[in-house]
Structure formats: structure tokens, C-alpha cells
Symmetry: C2
Subunit: 547 residues, 2 copies
């Protein structure tokens, strides 16, 4: 069977646009004499559509487009694509996340999703009911077992702890399926692709079944989809794989012997680099922004964001502003200039001082007798935010924010200051990984000036300030944060590793009490198993760990 894997990058809610992409690629598959063209989960809507599906007008628009796609199919080239299905019995949401199998102008099967994920960034139980059953469809001598994303992630031989009692894949096999097809919208986090390959390979082998997995590519606000649609033969060998981090189209023949493919997840920095660049690109491209703006401090974080923006959008679309204050070291400016020259981007320089002086003068009568404190530090950061937002407003540039995960975790950032911006590009990257990323970027030649990499981290908001004045060394901090945030470890377990219960407790408390800042933070591009944002939900007013 000749299968066209259609790895698309839908725009959420752009039903007309997504439909056009589907129909165009389907036409290509027909021209290529494919037996079947397969598109990702909810490929007509974009994933995740969230509360859009609660709008009747939206559902009706989707329904109409779904019928149009079905009507456009010819005989001998079937299509599988993801869309909604509504089945009103006045109990529950009456909505399903479904795979449509169409051929010869007709819908031949609608398979609903059985396992509805509702953890981390997934909120699907809010919208979708579970399929009551699964069906196998016979097509050109093969028995197709169609499933949707989560459906295939619950094999009892693979998982020690399972989220659901049912296994729709096992059911499909029992019903005779010999070609498993899974359509997905599976957001990337580091390590997931290798796990996916292992898990899917195991299933193909266990069930002696061909297996075709079609994922989407592209970024949807904070979520990054890495594509990498895969085909496995009956021995569980990975026989074909689509592009990483971009749309792709590939015809796979289940009957031709293919060479086994290895090594599908690269080193962390390479994956992170491509994922973040894609995140910037789609965040700008989809709503129609061309140019971005970044405040360049002379530190490594903003340097990395500028570099990634250049990768994503081209140097001509990246604008930076340097905003030195009395506390900025000469190095900060020189190093920034070097980076600007390396990347050939346009830059402005605006001094913080005149406005800082005007603000302190205005506040003087009210602050009399009070010593300088964090107020004045925040003020500098906020004046920079003021400048950046003014330039963003005046020129229509999208402001990118440059805080890293270690900072956002501990609240070492100024709300309405350096937290200003539409997208937190490296908000899911620990400071220690920022250094790794810089090394990766410089692997062939020095793009990020070594002075930027080598200097001691500092917010430069007071004389001779260093990050290490307020925070433990980043190696220690990040190790604690990683255990706490991603591995969901507890304070005792973490203390056992750090050997410092007091420090551990201090860091965990910092994370907990800074929830109010994160509530007002820009969306964070997600590359880890647990990013700040939609997938992590903590109460703001709460006293756990404060007692």
C-alpha cells in the first residue's frame, strides 16, 4: 500500500487555509497514485483549538469544510484527516476529536479518539468525549486500524503506570487490524522523540503490524510540534521518517523493503536550537508579524535570543536596542556591538539615565528618608521596558522577551520590566543550558562573542551586582530546579542530592512564591517535559511551603 504522509502545519482556526493545504496535498497524493493520504490530528482546525470548539459557528464552519474535503475525494485514493464530530445526545460535551476516512466522495469511517489526555498542556476532557468503540476498516485488501494520538500511548507492556484502563490499539488488533495508523498532534519536549520511536517500534513488532504515525509540524503559540512522522515495518523497524520541525510530504510503500533508519533525536542543543527558531518563526508568521525587537543587554540571554531570531526571521527583520545605565559595564556595550556586527542586524542605543533621573526626581518627595533598594533596580528594568514597548508600538515590531527558565522560576526578573514582550523565547531553557546552546552556536565560528559567554552573569542594576549575590551558582540552582520542576521530586529527595536542605528549601520557596509573576508572563516556548505556562497550574494565593 502506497501511503502519503502529509505532515502539515495548520494555523489554529484558519479553516479555509487548512482546508486548502489538505486538498492541495491530497491532490498531490492522487497524482502520485498513493492509495491513501494521511494528515495529522485535528489537521483541519489546528491543535489545540481550545475554547474555539465551544462556538457553534466555529463547529458549523468546521463541519462544512469537513464535508467539502470528503466530497472532493476520488476513488482509489483515500484520505484520513483530523476534524471534529458532533453527536448530540444531551449528555456530556457531545463532541469528539475524530479521524475521518473518506474515499470516492464519501465518509467511510469516523473513528473518534478513545483516550482523552487531560494533564500537563492537555485539556481535552474539557472538550471531547471518549469514543465508545473502535472499528477496523477494510481497504484494498488491508485492515486499517485507525487511532488518534493518545490512543497509542497506553500499551500495558510498555508502561508500568498507565493513565487509562482501556487500550484501543489492542482492540483494533483483536479486530484484525494489520496496518495501524495513528494521527497525532504531539508537542515536542526533549527526549520524547526517542521514546516515541521506541514505543511505536515495540508496538509494530509486538503486533506484527505495519505502523504509520503522522504528526503535525510547527508552533502553536507556546507548543512546538516537531513533525518527524514515522513508518515502521512489521518487524518494528523504522523505515521512513519525515522532516523535523517543518512541513513534509512523503510517500511510503508498505510493500517495498526499506533500510532501517537510526538516530532520530539529535543532541539536546541541536533540537533546542531548531525548536526555538521554529517557535519564533510561527509566532510571528501566523498572525502576520514580520519584524521583531529585542533589548540587548550585553548578557548571554539576550544574545542567544537575538541569534535565534536572526535564524528564524533573517537579519533584516531583527532590531535590537541597547539601553545602558550608569551600572552597565563598558564591556556590555562593546560585546553587544560585536554581536551586532557578527549578525549584521540594526541597532539603536538609548540611555536609561535621563529618564531614571526624571523618575527619581518625580518620586523624591514621596521617597524621602527611604534608602535605595530593589525599587530603583526594578525602575531601570521598567524604563527599558518602556523604551522597548514604545519602539514596538511605533514601528509595529513584535517584542521578544529574554528571560531564561532559571530566572522565571526564581522570580529573578522584573514584572513590567525585562518581562515585557509577546513571547518568552528561552523561558523553558535553564541558564546552564543557555551556555551549552552558545557553545553549539559557536561550534564552527565565534558568533556569540566569547566575552559574552565568559563574563559573570549580572543584571547590572546596581554597582558591581552579580547574579550570585542573590542566587546560588547556576549549576546548583538548575540541578535543584530540574529535579523540582521536571522530575517532580520533593524537597527531601532534592536535599539528599544537594546536601543542603536550607538552600533547597529556599529555592523551592522562591519558585512557589513567584507564581504571581508567572501569571503575567509572556507565553513560554516549551521544549521540556514541564514548562512554565499552560501545562503547570499552581494557585497564586496559597501557603504550602510557607508554613
Amino acid at each position: 500500500m502506497r501511503i502519503a504522509l502529509c505532515q502539515t502545519n495548520p494555523v489554529i482556526g484558519d479553516i479555509d487555509g487548512n482546508k486548502k493545504v489538505i486538498l492541495d496535498l491530497y491532490q498531490k497524493a492522487c497524482d502520485d497514485k498513493a492509495d491513501i493520504a494521511i494528515f495529522p490530528e485535528l489537521s483541519l482546525l489546528g491543535y489545540p483549538p481550545l475554547d474555539l470548539v465551544e462556538k457553534k459557528e466555529f463547529r458549523e464552519y468546521v463541519k462544512k469544510a469537513t464535508a467539502e474535503i470528503a466530497a472532493a475525494t476520488i476513488e482509489n485514493t483515500a484520505i484520513i484527516f483530523g476534524s471534529l464530530h458532533e453527536d448530540i445526545d444531551n449528555v456530556g460535551t457531545n463532541l469528539f476529536n475524530s479521524a475521518y476516512f473518506c474515499e470516492g466522495g464519501e465518509v467511510k469511517l469516523i473513528q473518534h479518539k478513545t483516550l482523552i489526555p487531560n494533564y500537563d498542556v492537555f485539556d481535552e476532557m474539557r472538550y471531547f468525549e471518549a469514543a465508545k468503540d473502535t472499528a477496523v476498516i477494510e481497504y484494498k485488501g488491508r485492515k486499517l486500524g485507525i487511532s488518534i494520538c493518545e490512543d497509542i500511548w497506553n500499551d500495558k507492556d510498555y508502561w508500568k503506570v498507565r493513565l487509562y484502563p482501556e487500550d484501543p490499539i489492542e482492540k483494533l488488533i483483536k479486530k484484525g487490524a494489520d496496518l495501524l495508523i495513528n494521527i497525532s498532534a504531539s508537542p515536542y519536549s526533549y527526549g520524547k522523540r526517542i521514546e516515541k520511536e521506541e514505543m511505536l517500534s515495540g508496538l509494530a513488532k509486538k503486533y506484527n503490524s505495519d505502523l504509520v504515525y503522522v504528526n503535525c509540524a510547527g508552533a502553536q503559540t507556546d507548543l512546538i510540534f516537531d513533525g518527524a512522522s514515522m513508518c515502521f515495518d512489521r518487524k518494528g523497524r523504522l523505515s521512513a521518517i519525515c522532516n523535523l520541525y517543518s512541513e513534509d510530504y512523503l510517500v511510503y510503500n508498505t510493500e517495498s523493503a526499506a533500510e532501517e533508519i537510526h538516530l532520530i533525536e539529535r543532541a539536546f542543543c541541536a533540537e533546542m536550537h531548531d525548536a526555538l527558531a521554529l517557535g519564533i518563526k510561527d509566532y510571528c508568521r501566523k498572525p502576520g508579524f514580520k519584524k521583531v525587537l529585542i533589548g540587548l543587554s550585553g548578557g548571554i540571554d539576550s544574545a542567544i535570543v537575538v541569534y535565534l531570531a536572526v535564524k528564524a526571521l533573517g537579519a533584516e527583520n531583527v532590531n535590537v536596542v541597547m539601553m545602558p545605565s550608569q551600572y552597565s559595564s563598558k564591556g556590555s556595550i562593546d560585546d553587544s556591538v560585536k554581536l551586532i556586527e557578527n549578525l549584521k542586524i540594526s541597532a539603536k542605543t538609548i540611555s536609561v539615565e535621563p529618564v531614571f533621573d526624571a523618575v527619581t526626581e518625580a518620586l523624591k518627595p514621596h521617597f524621602e528618608g527611604r534608602p535605595q533598594d530593589v525599587t530603583e533596580e526594578n525602575l531601570q528594568s521598567r524604563i527599558r521596558g518602556l523604551y522597548l514597548m514604545a519602539i514596538s508600538n511605533k514601528f509595529g515590531y513584535l517584542l521578544l522577551t529574554t528571560g531564561n527558565k532559571s530566572e522565571i522560576a526564581t522570580g529573578y526578573a522584573t514584572l513590567y520590566g525585562d518581562m515585557c514582550g509577546a513571547l518568552a523565547v528561552i523561558g523553558d531553557v535553564y541558564k546552564t543550558d543557555i551556555y551549552r546552546l552558545a557553545e553549539y552556536i559557536n561550534r564552527d565560528s565565534e558568533i556569540i562573542p566569547k566575552e559574552i559567554i565568559e563574563k559573570e552573569p549580572s543584571a547590572e542594576l546596581r554597582h558591581n551586582q552579580k547574579d550570585s549575590d542573590s542566587l546560588p551558582p547556576y549549576e546548583v540552582l538548575d540541578a535543584i530546579l530540574r529535579m523540582y520542576l521536571e522530575e517532580n521530586k520533593e524537597s527531601e529527595e532534592i536535599s539528599a542530592v544537594t546536601g543542603d536542605a536550607q538552600l533547597t528549601k529556599k529555592v523551592l520557596r522562591l519558585v512557589d512564591i513567584n507564581e504571581f509573576k508567572r501569571k503575567q508572563a509572556a507565553p513560554v516556548l516549551r521544549i521540556s517535559y514541564k514548562a512554565f505556562g499552560y501545562g503547570r497550574r499552581f494557585p497564586i494565593v496559597q501557603k504550602w511551603r510557607n508554613q
Copy 2:
């Protein structure tokens, strides 16, 4: 049976504090010779605990406290309180939202919640599994049917459209329950109390059963719980009700005839007033803030927020700042001064102009040849944000933000400007309702100066600016927003009411494209069926309604 209704206001995560409140009130119930003391849903944890329950350390702490409460019970005075239960079978979350029935030092029954809400502000399927069964417990000659919140909201005779196929209350009745007990943490929105009374009354009558409903009181960040725990006799008559918007303790005797109570939801303004004041109070009190700060513009929104803050915290804890610019009318200052005198609060005045001049001077070389536009308007708003945050930082005052629902909906607010603040007090109140609230506040004497109420709404960010320059009249705008946001109506339906399809489309599009601002907004105190924030989830990058 003598039942002590213990309407508590837990602090989320403060297990020790909540345990003490429970044990103290239980002791009081023992002293009062109550047969049973009943506490709200998850009363030991505070509701909603969100991702805290994913922490093993947290669960273990809760488990220990749960056992301590059980151990402290004596014979003849039982307790029912809400806590977690963990049952590890390696499938699903292994966690339950449970009611503990304890007496004589022992746990006699753990009834898990059957219906797990997962819509609007509820995310419980993320955390909790559904009870597999319900049990009736015999106690002092009565058969108690215990349920938790949502369990009681699915009666097929009451609801035309149901969210769940099961009905745990019907099951309890079939098992012989003659005293229905429901423990809740049911967030308030206007109209819900009267509906609740009707629904519960109907159940008591239909099943010829006593019914005791115990809700919590207090605010948890954005969610406001109105208390109003209720008792119904077998004829469905409301026989007792606890305080609105505050903790309460009440002993109800099922055997004594009580007079029927009527009228339990007051006029919208009275409810809104009390709800918002409680929201401010608990947002400050629970984390330990004493004083708040508000920017006073001379407009009605900030006037109302200042008034509510005074109601919640006392005049001595409310500080305001007036920040006139060249565009501020003389009236704005005079009217603000009048309000300040009426409320006896402390005020500062700081002019925007010197800083505005310094910023425009600093940006001049970069803005050359560009006309003035919204940039300069935003700048003024952001300078005010800068001042307010500096004062907030310097004095440890919590900054309240003053945007109303109409503004937040349409994006008629400046990100990092007037949107600065820890809590959006009136972010769920339409502009037209703000006027109603002002009238209510002034019902006995003029507290909000009539000049503030009568002036035409203006952001005063440019010469002679009026809100009506950019927005339709608020009566029209709010009618559209209400249909769109709360009634989930569609553009065609709304156009049919407004008679202006173009205007309707414009407003709906404004709501949709301003999601990025709301992502970074302060938590909004929720008083309507659909508030901005946790209960409304839209993709930021999306093209629906943009095509």
C-alpha cells in the same frame, strides 16, 4: 439530628492552619452536643489546590493531617470534612476528592466524588478519578447519603442537558438515604445561588429527604465562594442558611420545625459589592499584605476600586496616587480630591509630564519623521504604571488594577500600563454595571462624587479624547459582550439583536485578537458565569474570525 454546619474559609495549602480551624469548630460542635459537624469540600486543603496535589510531599502532609482529624473525633459527634484519598493501582491519577466521615477516633466511611467537573474554572479530571460507587452510612438511626459538590448537579428531572450519564444522588436514594449531605466548594457567579436553592429544594422534595449543603466562604485568588450553606426539610423548604461571604457556624436540627426562608439572592449590585470586597480582602489577607495602592484617574473605574478597597481593608490601608498629565481635565483632579476626602484616604500626586518629556526626548532621534500615535498614549499609561510599581516596591503596598470587563474584552487598556497590578478587582464587571454599582454605593449619600459618575468616559491620553471615539456606546458594547462572552452566542445571533452585523463583527474580532493582552493580565475576580482568566481558554495565535 443536630447538624453543625461549619462554613470555613480555608487557605489553600495551609494544611496546619486549616486543620486547626476544623478541629476548633469540631470542638465547638461537640460542646454544642451536635450529632455531626460538616465541613466543605477539600476543606483541609483549600479549593482549588491545583497542581499542589501532584506533589507527593503535599499529599503525605495532607494524609497525616487527615488521620489526625479522624483520631481526634469522639463518640456521638461525627465529622464530615473534605480531603484527598490516594488509592494506587497504577492506572490513572490514583487520587480522589473525598468526604471523610469519622467518629470515635475512626474513619467510618470515605466517599469519593463521582462527578468530576472539567469545564470553565474546573480542572478536576486533571487530578481526580471518579468514585466507582457510592455508599450510605447508618448513623444514629438515619441513613446518610454523602456527596461532593458536582455530584448533586446532575438530576435528570432538573437539567435538560446533562454533563454526565450517572446520577450519584439517585443511587444514594435507592440505597435508602434519608438525609442527603453535600459538601461543596462552589464558586459564586451572579444568579447561581437562586438556581442552587431551586435545584436543591427540588431534590429534597422529590426524594422526600432532608438535605444539608455545606459550602465554603472566602476568595481563592480569582474565585469567590459565597458561603450560604443551606438546609432543606423533606418538603424542600429552605429552613436554614449560613452567612453570605463570610465564615459561619450554625447548628441545625432536622427534627425541629423551622420557618421557611425566602429571598436568598439580593440585587446584583449588593451581591457584586460584597463579592468584590471579599475578593480584595482575602487576596491581601491570605498572603499577609496589609496595604494596597491604586492609581486614581478621576474616572469611575478607579473610584469604584478605591471604594471597594476601603470597604475591604479600611481607609487607613488604602493609598492612592493621582498622576495628571497635560491631557487631564481640571475636573479629574478636583473630582479625585473630593473622593479622597469622602473616603478619608491618603493620597499622593505625581505629574506624568517631566518623565513623559524625558522619554520622548530620549526617543526623539529614533522616532524622527513619525507622527504621534497610540505610542504616546501608551507611554503615559506606562509611566503611571512605572510610578505605581515604584511606590508599591518601596512601601510594600499591593497594587490593584482598575480595568473593567468591557475594556479588558476589547483591549482598551495598556499592557504594562494601566494593566499593571496584582489583582484586577473589577475585571469581570461591565462598564454599564460599574455605573449601577456607583448608584448602589451612593444609595444613602454621595460617596462617589456625582461629577465622576456623570462625566463622559475618557482615558485622557490625548486632547479631548473620549472612549466613544474608538468604542461603540457602552450600552451597545456591553450588550454585545454579554451575549458573546456569557451567553456564548454567535455573531449572527448577536447581529440579529444589534441590527448591525459590521459593528458586531468588529467587537467580536476585538475580543478575539486581544487574547495576548489577557494572557498577561492580573487575575480577575470572578462574579459572572464566564470571567476572563482561568475559566476561558483561547489560543493566542489563531485566525478564526480573522479570515
